[in-house]
Symmetry: C2
Subunit: 340 residues, 2 copies
């Protein structure tokens, strides 16, 4: 005869009764409280095992205000990033990882839900400057939060890549090859990295006394429109100006679209136009020709971000916010060469 009602999961009291101790002692065993006699601990653990005991998360949340969970929030679902990239370090640290997506409009609600869920920390993937950092801090309900990508406010931890430098590498590569007129296709400048890449392009061109342009500023938001944006941009540029010999594209997927447009217009890469992309998306090396691009170590970025997040969770009082800037690398493939 079972010591607890059928169809109900055992509670610490059931375990306690079975093990002949108080439920508080069971709780201490659960929480690795040191002052429990080894024999008592062993007996409790054994009873827990035998009864198939599992802690009730709701009850634990109610008292501790925590849920042993990290929430990864993505704005505009940038899922070309491998999801395992960020869930894996979380699980390794003993937390459970949940991913949610939202739009700029629903970010506030999403953060409220995270608070309701009593998550221990939030990793925010927001490539857009969706709201002032002040407001973001206010909305996070005091939950430790790390932001991937640039932010400005130093009361926020963020890890960004030096986009100016990344762009510099790309543009410099083209200039070194002998290109003088370099076009640029980009998306909506609302996106932080997009804007920084664009600014880096203009700056690097200026540093070499070259006139920037022609430039196509697209309107893409959803990642699945990337290729269309690149295609449309290329078509538009070819209508406006055929003088450029090289092209800088805001990311590899846009570059793929641009390459299709060039092929449709009977132009060859790199013979007629050299192209550089960004991100080193897996597709880059399988394009024909393989795309020269800029590589960002997103894995490392994720790891570092979680390291800061865990630091902040462990010492919420003494934690000092980090702003970490990472450096990208140029990957030269066959889509770039000296102009004819």
């Amino acid at each position: 005869m079972p010591t607890h009602p059928q169809n109900r999961r055992p509670t610490i009291r059931d375990v306690a009764r079975e093990a002949g101790v108080s439920h508080q002692t069971v709780s201490r065993v659960l929480n690795d409280y040191p002052k429990v006699a080894p024999e008592t601990r062993a007996r409790v653990l054994q009873v827990m095992e035998a009864m198939g005991y599992e802690r009730n998360l709701a009850a634990q949340m109610l008292t501790t205000q925590r849920s042993r969970t990290i929430q990864i929030v993505t704005l505009d679902a940038e899922f070309h990033l491998d999801i395992t990239q960020f869930t894996q370090p979380v699980k390794q640290a003993g937390y459970s990882a949940v991913v949610t997506d939202c739009t700029a409009e629903s970010l506030a609600k999403t953060l409220d839900e995270a608070a309701a869920r009593m998550v221990d920390g939030i990793m925010l993937y927001a490539p857009r400057s969706c709201m002032p950092d002040d407001k973001l801090i206010a909305l996070s309900h005091g939950i430790p939060l790390v932001r991937r990508d640039y932010a400005i406010d130093s009361r926020l931890t963020w890890i960004g890549f030096d986009q100016q430098h990344a762009t510099h590498l790309a543009v410099r590569h083209l200039i070194d090859l002998g290109h003088r007129r370099i076009a640029h296709i980009t998306g909506s400048l609302e996106f932080i990295n997009t804007r920084l890449r664009h600014d880096g392009y203009v700056k690097t061109m200026g540093e070499h006394d070259l006139e920037s342009g022609p430039v196509y500023v697209g309107t893409y938001g959803a990642q699945r429109r990337d290729m269309k944006n690149g295609y449309d941009g290329m078509c538009e540029l070819l209508k406006r100006d055929r003088e450029f010999t090289a092209l800088l594209v805001v990311n590899d997927r846009n570059a793929m679209g641009a390459m299709r447009a060039l092929a449709d217009h009977g132009l060859r890469v790199p013979d007629d136009v050299s192209i550089v992309g960004f991100d080193d998306n897996p597709i880059a090396s399988y394009l024909v020709p393989p795309l020269t691009t800029v590589y960002f170590d997103f894995d490392f970025q994720a790891q570092l971000g979680f390291q800061y997040l865990f630091e902040q969770i462990r010492n919420p009082e003494t934690y000092k916010h980090h702003q970490h800037v990472l450096i990208a690398d140029l990957v030269v493939r066959q889509s770039t060469r000296a102009p004819a």
Copy 2:
């Protein structure tokens, strides 16, 4: 002077005191219980608004055993599917949506966590036959679960595409064009759809009295290796046999890899080899040449899946499991033509 301790969020008792009713009445208002006087309800709502009251999820979970959340579980993180595709219908239905990923090994643990989180339902994206359906049902702790992709057991709701028919469309298209020797590149046959596509290929070839092969069976598991698998497969096939005039590839990303391999070997698509892919991945129409492929309406699949899931959540007793088979469409682009 506030009626509840500073730094603490107001509870239903705080609201009740302020509104001059019992906390139970506040609870009734929260849960849209009908027998509350309109004036009382209005007053309570107004006080809740004024105090910035928000329901404590932990406490609610503790009593109701539910969390107003749907968990989307993905096995081997198939994230070429747009995440918004499945979170959007969930949010529309008034649930909050969380996504988690796992491997075949950690699926059991992930389902345990879902139970701990007291989610109302689970949508399982498991392209692999990771475990017997029996075991899956046991592991889901009685939580309503819908499985995307084929399953066998009819005590499980699933929505799959007719892969045999899809493959039939693709192979038939090639045969109609005049191809007789059609190669096939595929991934690990552990994946349900991969196996079904492979079997469909063999079957359709047989129906037309054609010998199937050559076939390359790869080992891909992670989606990011898709292109490499296609590339390697193509190289391997070209070493073995150059007689084929057409190629069926298990998905568009593999097809992209195969196309690169063909280009590297100086072979042209579709002049030398016609190619058909699967999925109508956004990249398909931007490949050079644009890829003929098979389109699956994943959006509809997701919507239907959630419809069944909500049905099951609403009437857990009377619910009858559905097994729904959807039909795919062939999208003819420029990667296929009659053999030379």
